[in-house]
Structures are given as C-alpha cells and as structure tokens.
C-alpha cells in the first residue's frame, strides 16, 4: 500500500477501533483467530459492517450487512465516497497535506449517486448512506478484506477503491485505523516480503532500480540475474499458451487443482518440455511433472520464518523428522546450485536469514534471537534496537509528510466478465469453509466432524423453482464445463446466488466451472464470479 506491500494495522488495533469493515471477507471461517480480535473490538463497542454477497457467519455478527451483487464493490465504495464528500466529512486537511489525485477522484465518484449504486449493487441506498456516514464519523475505522475483493478480474481496482475511502477520511496511519488485506495462506505475506513477486527483490525492493539491482548483484558475488520484472502466475499460463514458457519449477503449489478453468491449466502444464515440482505431497501437479523433489514440511520439519497479515515475521521450527527422502527446501536448492556448478555450501536457515537481513532494510533488525524474544517482529524493523512497527504510514500525518504522498486512484465499476444470461442465470461464487483449506490436500487428512463434503449451496427458492430437492444431485454448468454435484439448500443465500468451495476436487471439480479472467495488474483470477446454470438430472428411463 503506497509502496509497502502489507496490511497497515496490527490485530490489536481491531480491538480498539470504532468501526470495522469486513469487505469480501468471511473472517469468522477463513481467519478465525483474527476474528477473535474483531470480536473483542465488537465487545469493546466497535460497529462491525460486513460487505458480502452471502450472509456469512461473519455477517451474522455485523451491525450492518450489505448483501451486494458479486463484483459490484467499486460501485459501493465510490458511492460511499460521494456520500462522505457531500456530507462534508472528507478529511480535507489530510487530503491536502498527505495525498495526491483527489480532484480527479472526486470527479470520478460524483457519478456514483446512491440511486446508481443501489442499481449496481442491489443494496438499498439508505443502507449505503448509513454505513458511509458511520465510517466517516467514527474517530477510528478499519477496512479489512480478503479474496472477495481480490479474486476478481479487476482486483487491483477493487483494492484501490477501498484505499480511497481510507485516504478520504484520514483513516490510515493512525492507531486503530487502517487498510488490511487478510492473507489467505500462512506465508503469502512472507512470499512477497522475500521477493516472490514479479517486480520485487526481498524487502519489496524494486528489481528495475539499478542501484538496488547492483546491491544484490554485488552481495551475490557478481551473479547475473534479470533486471526486468518477470511474469505473474496468469501471465505464465498465457506464456505457456503461446509457447513462450516451456519449463517450470513449481515449489509448494498445486495449480493443476487450484487454477481457475482447471481443464486449461492441466492441458498447459501437461504440454511443458520440463516440469519440476517440489512439494511435500505427490500432488496432481506433481503427477504431471518430469521431476519431483520431495520436500520437508516448512512449518513442522524445518527452520525458517514466515510473515503474517500484520507484517509480523515469526519463526517456524523443526519439530519432526521429515519422512525418508524428503529434504529441507534450503538443502534442495543448494544441492541444485551445486549440480549447476555453484557451491553455496550448507547454510542453516539462520544464515540464509542473516543474508536477507543484510540486504533488506525492513528486515535488518530481525535477528533470530530478537524474533524469539519478542514473539515475532512487525516490519519495518530497520535495526536491532527497533521494536518493530505496529502500524504503517504514520509518516502521512507528519508536517510536512515524510516520503511520497499517498495517491487517490479514480477507478470505475466493472462488473464480472462472466455475464449472467438466460442460459447461465445463476451467479456462482466460491470460498472456504471453516474446517478445510484450499484444495483439501492438507485438511483432507484429519477427520472433521463439521465436514459434509462438497455441495452446491443454493437458496431454497431456487431449489423450488428448479424442482429439485435438498440433497438431490444436479448438473451445474458454466460456459467452460460442467460437473455433477448435490445441492444443499441454504436459507441465507438469496435467489440467483450459489456457493461452492474448492476443498474437495476429487468429489467435485469446482474449478471446471470457474473463469480464468484475470486481473492484468495482480494476475488473480475471477474465482468469485462465474455464471452457471443448474439442471435437474433426468431419472433413468425405465428398462
């Protein structure tokens, strides 16, 4: 956010704020322990506002739930901004001192009247107005989001629309105020921290800046490495499609199951010249590989660090011996280097980390010893006397502002790519359930009494109009494929809205239905919005 790729607040601030938005996030089930902090905030008097097409278990706790149409988030955010501006609740001083681009933004949102927002989101105008005023008037307010914002073809614009609200009201860079993506996997943040994104080196340092490139090159003994940004995941699949990308080394991902439009993903992966998969399981992707490198489990069988959604770098430690043949990621990579003719020795995780600290200023003060003593440290932590940073962007409140100003971005509403039609009249959205995780590879191994298997959740009204019973097996089809699945009636869903998870690909390959329309900026696919139809499966004719 404004140059730093992480949530601005700490969890503790959720306990001491006045308004919390959960926007496209069912944190009750997907981030249960973060939700504990939210609930403490609620008990301390914070108003909770949930924005979600589904009335989720998180929404059940909310003081206000807005059941928007899937993918209409920008219409809502822009209309809220217009309400705030017209009510003279914009923080003019902050805007003038700490931001850029306000005029263009204000012109853009002026078109988002409440009437228009009601038409585009489906949410009554008075409710939109009310939450906008609640947020603007609160002394402190936080906006938190998850994949409901980012698994869209215009994910980046969605995020920018939320950031605009924080800037407009000066609700960033202060205690209890902030803009927070809740990371879906235990080290998504850490992956970014370490430069596992196309344009960055560790510490979010820009690969394309010569001085930075030089710093790394000299630390690595004059090593040659690209000085232009690479591809993100969706671009890699594009490149595979065009024959530009022929070999891939995949570490700890299962794209054959987790990619939208799964049929296409499997076809492209199968057509590679060389596929190496390093994983703790023989995943479906690994089954397609030419070489599989069995790895130790990062969280329990090896040492290292991960970074959480409040930018806290934390130690993971080896508690178990890995199974025979499985090796630590560091060992594997160093062995690969050795075979390629470069001897990196046998560094410990701490030695690797110390090298990172020497190159990444935001991690510089995070010696293992300090990570142990302080139960992890929130970046930035520039030196070993620094306690870590509870919230980001306090600099925006300095007079004059330290560092660059925060930009507004005028963004327009752009509904999902997979349009509803007479043929595909039902909006399918996807998500996680409390006891399961992603493609179920890990969670499938423990016996959860909550688990009921995959089902297509639909409103009872849709069930009745389709003439299907609760529990009946139906055919669900999108423009890309179709699956057979049992329906389950879910009264909290409105007619026209259906829900599935991705947890049981062996039972139901949900991603056969989803669309791979991706955000050109972030490379995330629009898992949250497919158009489907549901057909009753005719009874077999009597013989």
């Amino acid at each position: 956010m404004f140059g730093a790729g992480g949530g601005t607040s700490s969890y503790q601030e959720a306990e001491e704020t006045n308004v919390i938005f959960l926007w496209g996030s069912n944190a009750r089930e997907t981030h249960p322990i973060f939700f504990h902090h939210v609930l403490r905030g609620v008990r301390n008097g914070a108003r909770l506002i949930a924005v979600d097409p589904r009335k989720t278990s998180s929404a059940e706790w909310a003081d206000v739930w807005l059941g928007i149409d899937v993918g209409s988030d920008i219409a809502l955010a822009n209309a809220m901004a217009r309400v705030i501006i017209h009510a003279d609740l914009a923080n003019k001083e902050f805007i003038a001192g700490a931001t850029t681009g306000y005029e263009e933004f204000a012109r853009c949102v002026e078109a988002y009247t409440l009437k228009r927002a009601e038409a585009e989101t489906g949410v009554p105008a008075d409710a939109i107005e009310k939450v906008a005023l609640d947020y603007a008037r609160a002394e402190r307010g936080m906006i938190c989001w998850t994949l409901g914002i980012t698994e869209h073809h215009n994910a980046t614009d969605n995020v920018l629309a939320l950031i605009n609200l924080g800037l407009l009201t000066g609700k960033v860079g202060r205690y209890g105020c902030g803009l927070n993506p809740l990371r879906g996997q235990n080290n998504v943040q850490g992956g970014g921290d370490m430069g596992a994104i196309p344009a960055r080196l560790p510490g979010f340092q820009d690969l394309e800046i010569q001085a930075i490139h030089d710093k790394f090159a000299s630390a690595w003994g004059g090593a040659q490495f690209p000085s232009k940004k690479g591809w993100h995941l969706s671009e890699m699949f594009e490149a595979m499609d065009h024959g530009e990308l022929r070999s891939i080394y995949i570490v700890g991902e299962n794209p054959a199951r987790s990619e939208a439009d799964q049929t296409r993903a499997v076809r492209l992966l199968s057509g590679l010249d060389h596929l190496v998969v390093q994983d703790i399981f023989l995943t479906q992707t690994a089954e397609l590989a030419h070489v599989v490198l069995p790895a130790a489990a990062g969280w329990a069988e090896s040492d290292g660090t991960v970074t959480n959604s409040e930018r806290r770098v934390q130690r993971v430690r080896r508690a178990l011996e890995p199974p025979p043949g499985a090796r630590d990621d560091i060992d594997i990579i160093c062995e690969l280097a050795r075979r390629m003719g470069s001897d990196w020795g046998h560094p410990t995780a701490e030695q690797v980390w110390d090298e990172c600290r020497a190159l990444s200023p935001m991690h510089a003060g995070m010696a293992y010893r300090r990570l142990d003593e302080l139960d992890g440290i929130q970046w930035p932590c520039p030196d070993e006397s620094h306690p870590g940073t509870q919230f980001l962007h306090g600099r925006l409140w300095k007079d004059p502002v330290e560092g660059p100003r925060a930009p507004f971005h005028a963004v327009e509403n752009d509904p999902p790519v997979d349009k509803l039609s007479e043929e595909f009249p039902i909006r399918l959205t996807t998500g996680r359930r409390l006891d399961s995780f992603n493609t179920g590879v890990q969670t499938g191994e423990y016996t959860s009494p909550l688990r009921k298997g995959e089902a297509l959740l639909i409103s009872p009204e849709d069930g009745h109009s389709l003439g299907v019973e609760d529990g009946e097996c139906v055919r669900a089809s999108s423009r890309r494929g179709s699956v057979e699945v049992n329906v389950r009636f879910e009264p909290s869903l409105r007619p026209g809205l259906a829900f599935m998870s991705l947890h049981f690909p062996d039972q139901v390959a949900t991603n056969v239905l989803t669309i791979d329309a991706t955000d050109p900026k972030s490379g995330t696919a629009e898992f949250k919005a497919s158009a489907i139809r549901i057909d009753k499966i005719p009874a077999p004719a009597p013989t």
């Binding site: 969890y11 503790q12 601030e13 997907t30 981030h31 249960p32 322990i33 504990h36 008990r43 706790w61 205690y175 209890g176 809740l182 996997q185 235990n186 998504v188 943040q189 703790i280 990062g298 969280w299 329990a300 069988e301 991960v306 959480n308 409040e310 806290r312 934390q314 130690r315 993971v316 430690r317 080896r318 508690a319 178990l320 199974p323 043949g325 499985a326 139960d375 992890g376 520039p382 620094h386 306690p387 940073t389 509870q390 919230f391 980001l392 306090g394 600099r395 409390l434 006891d435 399961s436 995780f437 590879v441 890990q442 969670t443 191994e445 423990y446 016996t447 959860s448 009494p449 909550l450």
Partner: protein, 289 residues
C-alpha cells in the same frame, strides 16, 4: 521509520501490604497480580491469564483487613493501603476446604503437580467426608474423532465456557446447565457435540485444568498406556494454514504430533486456535517416505 506506538493512558501505582510486606502495583491490578509480584504462591483453579476472572473456585481467597468475608485474589482489584493476609488461619482453612470439597467430588488425578502440591500444603484430606460422599462420576463422552469430555474430572471452573464464549471463540456451544451440586457443563439439551454448535476449535481443551477435556489422541494413548509426557518435546512454530500467523506448540512423542496448544501470552492467539490449527496436523505425518 519508527512509528508511534499507542500505549494508552498513563496509570498510577498503588501501594498495599501483603503479609506485612509493602508492594507497589499498577492501579487496576488484582490482589493476585500483587501476590505474584512478591512471589507469594497463590493457588488458583478457575483463573487463567487469557480469561476474565470468574472467581468461582474460591481457592485463591485472601483476608483483607476490614472485610467481613474473605475475598478472591484473582478478581479483587487492589486499593491503596489495603492490608492483605494470604496465610492466616482463616485463609488456610478455606483453601483447604475448597480443595477437600473438590477432591471429594471430582477425579482430580490428572491435575498438575502444582495442584497436588497445594493439596499437600494445606493438608487437604478429601477422604474425610466418608465413602458415601456424592461425586460427579459418569461415563466419558466420546462422540467425535477430535476430542473427548470426561466430566468426572470437571471441577466446574467455567474456563471452557469462557473460552467457547465471550473470552475467545464466541461460539457458545457449551454452557453451565442445572444448578447447585447438579450444575454441569452441557451443550443444549445435552446433545452430542456433532449435533451442537461446536466448531471444534478445541479452545476448551486448551484451558481445562483437570484433563476433563482432552484430545482424543491423548485419551486413546492414555487408554493404551502409551502416553508418556517424559518422552514428549514441545516446539513452537507457526500454523501452516491461513495468513493470521497463529503460534502453535507442537507436542511431539516418537516423531508424532500428539497434541497442539498455543502460548497464552502470544499477541496473535492469546492461546486460542481454530479447528485447522488445533487438529489439522495429520497430513504432515501421514506421508510415506
């Protein structure tokens, strides 16, 4: 790069005397906090640092000069000039009786060594109420694959109810039902857990002081005689699932995870986890070499 850190309003110190020794603690502290500051070992059963004090077990009672009855150290806030006695005859008597009354009605054999130490210190002899004394003995409830409930061991400290409720999980799958000696922890209409609101976060197990709530893996191993804490290591690491970053303590015996807990004082979890973090570890040890 340093950012401002919110520290709240400044607090004053309050001075009081405990067993004749002066001590200063922050205003708003409890007598228990002050006792700990002086390293006065104070027995507690229903108190836990990550839960709101319910002061029901009454084993922490102390004598405060001027008070008609004894007061619970765990919840009573300090006042300036308070004179507290933690080892008077009255205090010792009530602590002994609380331990005896519990010991005579509940199976406390899996309580910590610390609890047994208090029993000894206060000369508690639970047997003295005679063989006919009513107990809470009942069969173990095994109704799911993740954890078991053995209410013969329940001292009704309310900790599990608090962890399931307002203090952490806010699921409220269990509450206290009935009253008097018949009061007990129960789901609605005593329905089995799979039919209840339980979401299997296991935070009730995490706070249970008597072994009444237990991982099924531990229960089974104890049944088979293979549970051996002497051979277990505890390693802190981070949960492999979502991006919240919950600190786990993996209890490992013979290269197998047998139990998962979280440190009470960790700022992310306060000791509480979700079902995936608490129980979702099997995958790592079901891989074959």
């Amino acid at each position: 790069m340093a950012e401002a850190v919110f520290v709240g309003l400044p607090k004053r110190f309050v001075s009081l005397s405990i067993d004749g020794r002066e001590v200063e603690v922050l205003e708003g502290s409890t007598i228990l906090d002050a006792c700990r500051r002086l390293e006065v070992d104070t027995p507690t059963l229903c108190q836990l640092d990550n839960l709101t004090p319910v002061n029901v077990c009454r084993v922490c009672v102390v004598e405060v000069e001027g008070a008609r009855v004894l007061v619970p150290a765990c919840s009573r806030r300090v006042e300036a000039g308070m004179k507290v006695r933690t080892d008077s005859e009255r205090v010792r008597h009530s602590r002994r009786l609380v331990l005896e009354l519990l010991g005579s009605s509940v199976d406390m054999s899996l309580c910590s060594a610390q609890v047994r130490g208090w029993m000894e210190r206060y000369g508690a002899v639970p047997e003295r109420f005679g063989v006919g004394a009513a107990t809470v003995a009942q069969p173990v409830k095994v109704d799911n694959e993740l954890y078991v409930r053995d209410y013969s061991r329940c001292i009704l400290c309310y900790k599990c109810v608090e962890a399931c409720g307002v203090d952490a999980q806010n699921t409220f799958a269990i509450g206290v039902a009935g009253r008097g000696f018949d009061a007990h922890i129960s789901t609605e209409f005593d329905t089995p857990l799979p039919d209840s609101a339980c979401v299997y976060c296991g935070n009730c197990i995490g706070v249970c002081p008597t072994g009444a709530l237990m991982f099924k893996s531990e229960h089974d191993m104890r049944g088979a005689g293979t549970w051996d804490e002497g051979r277990q290591s505890v390693t802190e690491t981070v949960c492999p699932y979502c991006g919240v970053g919950c600190m786990l303590e993996l209890h490992v015996q013979d290269n197998s995870i047998v139990k998962v807990t979280s440190p009470l004082d960790h700022s992310v979890t306060s000791g509480h986890l979700c079902v995936k973090g608490r129980f979702g570890f099997e995958f790592v040890q079901r891989r074959k070499g």
